[in-house]
Amino acid sequence: MASLLGRFCRKLVVPGSAHGSRMTSTTACGSETVKSLNLYSAINQALHIALETDPRSYVFGEDVGFGGVFRCTTGLAERFGKNRVFNTPLCEQGIVGFGIGLAAMGNRAVVEIQFADYIYPAFDQIVNEAAKFRYRSGNQFNCGGLTIRAPYGAVGHGGHYHSQSPEAFFCHVPGIKVVIPRSPREAKGLLLSSIRDPNPVVFFEPKWLYRQAVEEVPEHDYMIPLSQAEVIREGSDITLVGWGAQLTVMEQACLDAEKEGISCELIDLKTLLPWDKETVEASVKKTGRLLISHEAPITGGFGAEISATILERCFLKLEAPVSRVCGLDTPFPLVFEPFYMPTKNKASSSSSLSSPSKNTHFLIHGFSRLL
């Protein structure tokens, strides 16, 4: 697979060490063409390229043949044929197990789980089969060609079973990788990296952004490295860490904070497992404060892992306890979604954003300021 990487990887976009640049970072090479695409189109493009460059790659899942419920797989069946892009019956456990088998034979299996909320029947296959295959066979076998894609996250009206963020469950499993893109450009590069990565990857796509996020996406084949976080906004007073759709919310909080004179550094983790500890550590050593935000419930969320690790590494440099602004410890609610979500005001009013040295502070305003 390494040779495959070398052969087909034409351009590598160096991630944003772009100075104070916004989310739409500049292209590395001036001559490539870009197109304005939304998230599902970017993912679609990535899948087209993946199937084109590797004749032994397959895309399957529920309803992917006609394009999928979010149109991420449009045109694939027509272009590559029903033998490579096909629908499966309604059986997540079966689909993932089947994908593991296919990957074990040296193929790239790109599995789609229709909503991350439905991934749990396949949990055993992912945790017990996929993650441990290489380990327990002493490297005789592996299912590195497996990539599982699933839309995750709140969408405004999804309720209990169309809005969940299950990334924390998977971050607890050594042997797989967990990747979450924040925008169309990132998604295409990260998905291609995930598909070509020689380890099984669970790739969560923020469904809220499928149509909402539009960005200039290069048309060629490019990959964004995994396990490298990106500082997408530089600052000096506080570090904010997040992933996926939550970064949009956090950016708003940063802008608000800036008006109050607080300079925020925003980091996109991109890969949650294994995550880039060095980048976050360097940033926190610089700023002295950390705020983590994610949609998933706070207890046991991935923010806890980041918090614990940073505490170990940066204890003497921290000026305040690590703050987590996350979803509440309830099932994802139906009508109460606005109260549940970690909105920008919750982030702004988090006591971490209070900076005694600058003599300003946000008060906890309570529910009335949620939206």
């Binding site: 309604l90 209990h160 705020l291 706070i298 602004v325 996350c326 509440l328 410890d329």
Partner: protein, 389 residues
């Protein structure tokens, strides 16, 4: 008093003699025998007879309740388009005969558990229109206090266990309920309903095996509307004969658009399950709407197919023809009934619209049992937002 008009296309017995003594919308329970539209197809058992015992009152109540269900679903469609119902809404119109026929064969002690297409089953179990619309719109007087929404209707006093979003997950649950019923010697059964899409879930076979091993009074009802969301049954299943999929478990294939066939099958199944353990019922039915409100329903099937079913097999039309041919009501009386139903539905909607949303504190209730004392933290974990009541 106008003479009734006999339906010219009916093949059911007419009673010319009593035309002069025609009752107005009657409430008496004179027995009538109805023939089901098709014979039953059986797997590993003897099919029940095609002659179904019914009564005039039952026939009329079938019509009324099915028309109510149909009207309710259409109204929910409009409410969804008006954005008063948000989230997901899966409509049952076309499949009413299954809900109605099942109710007629069982008691409120028998349990029903189903997936997310549950509005009409809830109504059949005794739920009120007001509770339905309030829950759909997320108001506090809804049957689940506004916290469940369209996919999560429950009614404990009628043994209706909901209302489940994850496809297939309700079937093992149903078998567990059946186990409890057997244990407490209640002479009751559980109907675990699922669709043709869910029929390919592994957990179904696990539940079937357990039920058969331990002789549980569980009846697995596959509501085969031939499309799992947008996937036709033959694309998803090697064997679309869902009634045979139990292998060692007997099964029965039923015309799900004929309320009397459903009633007969459920009665038969209940007797069987109490003596011999699980049985599978496959209801051959059809939904006119798409899978949910975001599915137009016409990309994977032709409009001709939908209108064809509506003309040939509509469950309410069938009952209407029976009512007319048995001379139980005139066309006008049935139309009046429908008008009354429409008004009833509109009133329920108006009342539901006035109902307030649940209190914000409800976000934290019922996560755990009351008084458990767990805390739920606010935004940055420094402040306890609520002690989960």
């Amino acid at each position: 008093m106008a003479l009734s008009r006999l339906s010219s296309r009916s093949n059911i017995i007419s009673r010319p003699l009593s035309a002069a003594f025609r009752r107005s919308i009657s409430t008496d329970t004179t027995p009538i025998t109805i023939e089901t539209s098709l014979p039953f197809t059986a797997h590993l058992c003897d099919p029940p007879s095609r002659s179904v015992e019914s009564s005039t009152q039952e026939l009329l109540s079938f019509f009324r309740t099915m028309a109510l269900m149909r009207r309710m679903e259409i109204a929910a469609d409009s409410l969804y388009k008006a954005k008063l119902i948000r989230g997901f809404c899966h409509l049952y119109d076309g499949q009413e005969a299954v809900a109605i026929g099942m109710e007629a064969a069982i008691t409120k002690k028998d349990a029903i558990i189903t997936a997310y297409r549950d509005h009409c089953i809830f109504l059949g179990r005794g739920g009120s229109l007001y509770e339905v619309f309030a829950e759909l719109m997320g108001r506090q007087d809804g049957c689940s206090r506004g916290k469940g929404g369209s996919m999560h209707f429950y009614k404990k006093d009628s043994s209706f266990y909901g209302g489940h979003g994850i496809v297939g997950a309700q079937v093992p649950l149903g078998c567990g309920i059946a186990f409890a019923q057997k244990y407490s010697k209640e002479e009751a059964v559980t109907f675990a309903m699922y669709g043709d899409g869910a029929a390919n879930q592994g957990q179904l076979f696990e539940a079937l095996n357990i039920s058969a091993l331990w002789d549980l009074p569980s009846i697995l009802v596959c509501e085969n509307n031939h499309y799992g969301m947008g996937t036709a049954e033959w694309r998803a299943a090697k064997s679309p004969s869902y009634y045979k999929r139990g292998d060692y478990v007997p099964g029965l294939k039923v015309d799900g658009m004929d309320a009397f066939a459903v009633k007969q099958a459920c009665k038969f199944a209940k007797e069987h399950a109490l003596k011999n353990g699980p049985i599978i019922l496959e209801m051959d039915t059809y939904r006119y709407h798409g899978h949910s409100m975001s599915d137009p329903g016409s990309t994977y099937r032709t409009r001709d197919e939908i209108s064809g079913v509506r003309q040939e097999r509509d469950p309410i039309e069938r009952i209407k023809k029976l009512v007319l041919s048995h001379d139980l009501a005139t066309e006008k009386e049935l139309k009046d009934m429908e008008k009354e139903i429409r008004k009833e539905v509109d009133d329920a909607i108006a009342k539901a619209k006035d109902c307030p949303m649940p209190e914000p504190s409800e976000l934290f209730t019922n996560v755990y049992v009351k008084g458990f004392g767990t805390e739920s933290f606010g935004a940055d974990r420094k402040e306890v937002k609520a002690a989960l009541p």
